[in-house]
């Protein structure tokens, strides 16, 4: 192994620093904005020297925005709660629907299995509005318009293909002989599924669930089309908040930070599985 020339090391270092600057700066800047008052945000030239304040977060959490014109009610906590509720429930439902199906696709060859699996996969690539626009009309007729249940069902469009294809891969990686041996020992199909297959695919199921949660949390268009203000998640709520709050930029920044923090934390926790999840199970990290 020969030593890398100094010039090359400097160039590499500079390149990495520039890359970090471009990708990290927006997040850092919004975080800084979120702990400033409007006066310091609006200063020209902008400066990073200011007395940090947490009143933006306080305003969001208490739901009261003190402005010169009076007190403004903000319901951002409601949006956060909606995001949490919608993402958690749709992932739970997706796991209940998707894991048994993934097992069937992995283990039991049956007529039409690949067709169903690929149809589900192709939903991942169809324009969401193609399904959403007719649904707005159907939902009115079915009484599902602006209900959590309707939204959770539509969220399966992103959650289910992801869970199905990642978990299927994990089931396929378990040698069939292990399950066979357990069944020879006199255990039934369900017992084998519950005691052997599920625990062995456990990490994969957890990873698929975490990723599906991130995708559900980050979704924008479903709720934009199908939910009104009281059911909207943070992605849609934040946009409405910008219009409603006028010039309260500090609070908008704080709202963004609160909205992206959960996915960041989950991504850090699940980073080992991110590659696999993002490629729908095709590439291992």
């Amino acid at each position: 192994m020969h030593a890398t020339p100094t010039i090359e090391r400097i160039l590499r270092g500079t390149a990495i620093a520039l890359v970090c600057l471009f990708f990290m700066f927006p997040i850092a800047w919004i975080m800084l904005m979120s702990i400033q008052t409007n006066e310091t945000i609006l200063r020209v030239p902008p400066s990073v020297v200011f007395a940090p304040t947490f009143e933006n977060y306080q305003a969001l959490i208490t739901g009261k925005l003190e402005t010169a014109a009076g007190t403004l009610e903000i319901n951002f906590m409601r949006n956060l709660w909606n995001s949490l509720l919608l993402s958690t429930s749709s992932v739970a439902l997706g796991l209940v629907l998707g894991v048994p199906a993934a097992y069937a696709f992995a283990r039991l060859k049956f007529r039409g299995s690949e067709d169903i699996a690929f149809t589900l996969l192709s939903f991942r690539f169809a324009p969401p509005l193609l399904v959403l626009l007719p649904l707005t009309i159907y939902f009115q007729q079915l009484g599902l318009a602006n209900t959590y249940g309707g939204l959770i069902w539509v969220y399966q469009l992103i959650v289910l293909p992801l869970i199905l294809w990642i978990v299927r891969g994990y089931f396929e990686d378990i040698p069939a002989d292990i399950e066979y041996a357990y069944r020879i020992a006199g255990h039934g199909f369900w017992a084998t599924f519950r005691r052997i297959a599920l625990p062995l695919a456990g990490p994969g199921i957890a990873a698929a669930g975490l990723l599906a949660f991130i995708f559900a949390w980050n979704n924008f268009v479903f709720a934009l089309v199908l939910a009104s203000a009281d059911k909207q998640p943070v992605t849609v709520g934040a946009l409405a908040f910008v219009t409603a709050s006028g010039i309260q930029y500090g609070q908008v920044a704080a709202g963004i930070v609160l909205s992206i923090a959960p996915t960041f934390a989950l991504a850090l926790y699940a980073q080992r599985y991110l590659v696999e999840g993002l490629s729908l199970g095709a590439v291992k990290g």
């Binding site: 283990r107 690539f125 069939a176 069944r183 039934g188 924008f220 920044a253 095709a282």
Partner: protein, 311 residues
Amino acid sequence: MTTTHTQSLPPGPRRHRFRVSRRMLPYLLSLPALLTCIGILIPFLTAVAYSLQRYRLSQPWARQWNWGQNYLNFLSDPAFWNTLKVSVTYALVTVVVELLLGLGIALLLQRRSRLNNFVSIMLLMPLMTAPALAALMWKLMTNPGFGILSYLAGLIGLGDFRWASDPQTAMLTVVIVDVWVYTPFIMILLLAGLRSLPQQPFEAAALDGVPRLFVFWRITLPMLTPFLLTATLFRVIESIQQFDIIYAMTQGGPGDRLTVFQVEAYLNFFQSTNVGRSAALLMILWAITYALSNVFIKNWLRLRERSRGNA
């Protein structure tokens, strides 16, 4: 232990009181997924029907089948050609930039070291940001009043640089946001690809003193091709359908500067309530993505088989 593709379990002994027939079992397990498929296919078929109708929400009495008329109208409709042009431009520019940048970063971070691993994890954060919120972040940074980027543009002599609100630079601005969010996607896929390549060819080349540029073009790139193809196709399919970033940033404006397919269809449906035209637009977008996704899935399956084989 070699795991062959989909091994069937032979029937084992049963002790259950109630028996599910073996032939029915797989269908029972996948029934919910099957129902979801049907549940999604119904609105899809409805959209096909809408696209063949004259249907405006504001004039329900005038609703009638007009068969291909919505599609025929596109031929002489400058707004449609603008949508097609803007969508294709957006998809091509974002994907080319992201591919080059993503490949470059992956090569920079290829060697496993603590710093490189840390940087590659940090770079995932934009990808984990909801695209709509990412657009909002950039909107705050490009605000003409206090945006840091507007200020910096002023410093380098670009005076009144209006980013997304100027028709001249609106496309550039949303492309930057897209590049910010999605370059890490390509980077992380290519990084996994680079690190999974067999080492022998590289060792042999190093031993023979083959120039590094030659190694890159003749060994690295060809071996990386399946990863490059999968990442590129995936991104093209998503990028031509981009909605969140553009809608959150400018709602398709200024004017019709950024009315890509899904934004135009959304505006047609909710603002001009022209359901027929909206559905026809989405059908054309669907045809494009369907063709692309078939190529993608073939590639993706090959890659999937391969990484299963390595497991």
